[in-house]
Amino acid sequence: MSRASPLIRPVTVYALVALVLLWTVAPVAWIATMSVQPEINYVSVPPRLRLEQTSLRWYAATLASPEFVGAMRTSALVSMATMLLCLTLGTLAAYPLARLNVPHRNLYLTLSVTARMVPAMILIIPMFLLLRSLQLLDTHLGLIAVYTAFLLPYVIWMLKNFFEQVPYALEAAARMDGCSRLGALVRVIIPVTAPGVVATAVFAFIGAWNEFLFGLILSTRLAVPVTVKLSSLVSTTFHSDTSLVAAAGMLALLPPVLLVFVLNRFIVRGLVEGMKY
């Protein structure tokens, strides 16, 4: 027992990690394979992988579809705008909640998150009516407004927690040095919490990018997000070829992954260096 124990631990840990990886990565790997193989190869039993038949033509076909590219553009625009709006509004809301003596702040925080506990299905009809009366149905702005409303409470909560970790003296020092409260927020608190802020930004972007239900109901033609477009591809246009759907799915996966890659630098730096104040 005492001899085997040095090995048992790492082996168990790696086995569990491998299992989790398999669980999360396998579907993506499956779709990735589908997107470069003819349908016949993977619908046959057992599925076969024929490397000589590997091709990117389904990607080319997907990218040639103006509908799909338009949906990607819509999603990118809406998600970016939602992310920026959430960060801006979230910062301005989270800072006072973290730092100033706001009356009833816990009540506010609890309420804002409780509102999000209501299932989205219940809110969809009121939202639809609201957007219709504002003439925001099937518009980018409509989606941005709805997504921001839904993500903002989480963003506020996350940012508040990051801001609270910054020692009060750091902000006091900035104010002694000549910053206003807003200046101290921008020049000191946000840079110091950058890893957290970036993680929050990624969260908001992915939240908006992956949203499906509201996009489906609130947009019909002009501002259809890629998630909705994907589902309609499955049922209509590309019906004949699953490889096309898989390629489209892979393309839809790309922007959030790219974003995480680009911003990973910040997140990892934050994790490696630790939040040293």
Binding site: A172, R175, D177, P191, V192
Partner: protein, 364 residues
């Protein structure tokens, strides 16, 4: 000229009075310490002077001008914080230069001033370092440099030494003292360490529960504490106390305590403290004022057993116990008795501190 006056300064947090009617006159060029245990309101007072904390009532004047509502940076003050509060996302140079950059000073002036300040504090080779790469002492010096570079009218220190280890703390204490002697900038220093306060300050304000109990020159605080609290808070070892009844009788002053009867011959009229007859007092004596002698002598003192020795090298403190009473005397190490010895301890009348038992105020 940088004289700071506090007039009946108060701060309330809801129902809590953090600071009550603090009035201090801090002269130009002076080094003043706000001294007290944690929660006594000293840091809140400092933060109000800095403009970081809103004043609930009262006024702050800088050279006669009211600055109570001014923003922190408009007051021309610089602060050194307990945890240094250096900007972790900037290097040493940028930390020191931050305030000057915000003032939109020309680039070459910033460069010159930052380098000069860094040289003065031996930070020259560290200017490019990140804060996380510095030791505690180096961080403390960067914090000092960041304050100095602004050439402020007033320095504010919020327990800047309490995070350092003992050796470094002593060195930084000397460094701060030397800086003040060079720059002569009015300085307000907050600490709970009475030794630090005594060493650094021209004036000390001893605080408790949001109130200034005594404010005066450091020596006077030590020599003539106006309140029992100040007497026991200041000085190491703690002032020895005997509780009893003080009265004048037959040309003597007498203190009658549990199992004790101390007597001092009286030259003139009875002391003013006894004008109203006898009273309950606490009689205090500092270790350096108490005298040890051979056992038996009961005049002006008592005989008791040596209970504890504290050899410091230069001196030895001897704690003598008799019944519930304990007093400490300072002696030369060579003449120190041994634990368990019977010795007499004499309390010279001219050196005693008398405090009213009820009000705890000084009565002599």
């Amino acid at each position: 000229m940088s004289r700071v006056e506090l007039r009946a300064l108060s701060k309330t947090f809801g129902p809590v009075h953090a600071v009550r009617d603090v009035s201090l006159d801090i002269p130009d060029h002076s080094f003043v310490t706000l001294l007290g245990p944690s929660g006594c309101g000293k840091t809140t007072t400092l933060n109000m002077i800095a403009g970081l904390e809103r004043v609930s009532r009262g006024e702050i004047l800088l050279d006669g001008r009211p600055i109570t509502g001014w923003a922190p940076h408009e007051r021309g003050m610089a602060m050194v914080f307990q945890n240094y509060a250096l900007y972790p996302h900037m290097n040493v140079f940028d930390n020191i230069a931050f305030a000057l950059k915000l003032q939109r000073r020309p680039r070459d002036e910033i460069d010159r001033r930052v380098r000069a300040t860094a040289e003065a504090l031996e930070l020259g080779p560290l200017l490019g370092r990140r804060i996380a790469q510095l030791s505690g002492g180096q961080q403390q010096r960067v914090a000092l440099a960041r304050a100095m570079v602004k050439e402020p009218r007033v320095f504010l220190f919020d327990e800047p030494l309490s995070n350092l280890d003992a050796g470094l703390r002593t060195r930084m204490r000397v460094e701060i003292k030397r800086l003040h002697q060079q720059l002569r900038t009015t300085s307000i220093f907050v600490t709970h360490d009475q030794e630090e306060a005594m060493i650094l300050s021209d004036f000390v304000a001893v605080m408790r529960d949001g109130i200034v109990v005594q404010y005066g020159p450091a020596q006077e605080i030590y020599r003539r504490p106006s309140h029992l609290y100040v007497a026991t808070f200041i000085g190491k070892p703690r002032m020895g106390l005997v509780a009893g009844q003080l009265r004048a009788a037959a040309g003597n002053v007498e203190l009658v305590a549990e199992g004790l009867h101390l007597r001092w011959p009286l030259d003139g009229p009875p002391p003013p403290a006894l004008a109203a007859g006898e009273r309950e007092v606490l009689l205090g004596v500092r270790a350096e004022d108490a005298r040890l002698g051979p056992p038996g002598a009961e005049r002006e003192g008592f005989t008791g057993e040596v209970e504890l020795l504290e050899p410091l090298g230069s001196d030895t403190y001897v704690e003598v116990r008799r019944g519930p009473h304990r007093l400490t005397a300072r002696v030369e190490p060579d003449s120190a008795p041994r634990i368990g010895d019977q010795v007499s301890i004499r309390i010279p009348w001219g050196r005693v501190h008398l405090f009213d038992a009820a009000s705890e105020r000084r009565v002599n």
